[in-house]
Amino acid sequence: MTTATSIVLSRAREQVLERGEGLSEEQVLEVLQLPDSELDALLELAHEVRMRWCGPEVEVEGIISLKTGGCPEDCHFCSQSGLFESPVRSAWLDVPMLVEAAKQTAKTGATEFCIVAAVRGPDARLMAQVAAGVAAIKDAVDINVACSLGMLTPEQVTALAGMGVHRYNHNLETARSHFPNVVTTHTWEERWETLRLVREAGMEVCCGGIVGMGETLGQRAEFAAQLASLTPDEVPLNFLNPRPGTPFGDLEPMSGPDALRTVAAFRLALPRTVLRFAGGRELTLGDLGARKGLLGGINAVIVGNYLTTLGRPAEADIDLLGELEMPIKALNETL
């Protein structure tokens, strides 16, 4: 360990582990620039931080696409945009299928079930479908219901809170300075406004993004700092899975060491937040990545499949949690 890297890690240890104070943007950048030879020490520190400030429990979640494809937005990573030549076709899920997926998710021990729709924001038809779905799930399954339906009006935020939706996901996706390279049909600030409304309505805020979308390390650090300033209850961390037909379809997946360094850096920026392993981890990190991430700052996982792509079998993650002696967070222990 060189003197410089030693200083970066020892300062992070004192600031984050001992005092619980997240790293600044400049400090996150220093962490992201650490050499591969320091990766194990960095992951170990991030794990200690997670254990100290969050505990050993892992929050398990399943996600489902209620409305797939045909989205009018141009998020360059997304195969569900109707503006790209993607093979993904539009589809709607009916309420019985939604309830069945929630039941199956709960059987894994998961406490979270997130209903997602590929839209700019929900229209009346979608809000009605969500209301029916949330009510049916609550009647049939003991699980927290979250939603991710794009940008919301104040009235829609109030309606979702009234349905008993306890958490709302709306990702900022990337650093503010990089956002115009990723999305041109709406702004980072519009997303921020929805998040503000969600917080104001008393719902938990879930906000993360995707790394590996051509951002610089500086922009990755900027993103971590911007998320920290939002103080979200949960940050889902996705790694770009380049989708055929999208503008980012030809980008290379980020390397495993870069992905793990990012996990650890985000943990050090957000010591008390639920940091969730989300899409792209199988591609970027393979099977070993689940273990390394859970021992490097992650304390939540999406189990099973994603919205349009497949994940590891849920039982593989559940078995791993048992092996690592990390209990699944119980329903009454959620935020």
């Binding site: 797939t68 076709r89 199956q104 099973g304 499949n305 792509t309 497949l310 994940g311």
Partner: protein
């Protein structure tokens, strides 16, 4: 309809299986549901849930991960 006919087209890219190299498609399919009907190359309506997928072709019916595993 149950979608059990002969696979003539790659269910990931929709090109004829007899043309070109589909080794990458086969690898990618480990982490993706099918998108094209293997019998006629129509884009299918695919629904992914946490534990599986279904894919419906308007001409050749519905396929599913459950059926694929049997």
């Amino acid at each position: 309809m149950s979608g059990v006919g002969r696979a003539v087209f790659c269910d990931r890219c929709g090109a004829p299986t007899a043309e070109g190299d589909h080794a990458r498609c086969a690898r990618e399919r480990d982490l993706e549901p099918p998108r094209f009907c293997p019998e006629c190359a129509r884009r299918m309506v695919v629904q992914v849930d946490p534990f599986g997928w279904t894919a419906r072709c308007s001409r050749h019916g519905t396929r599913s991960s459950a059926a694929a595993e049997r």
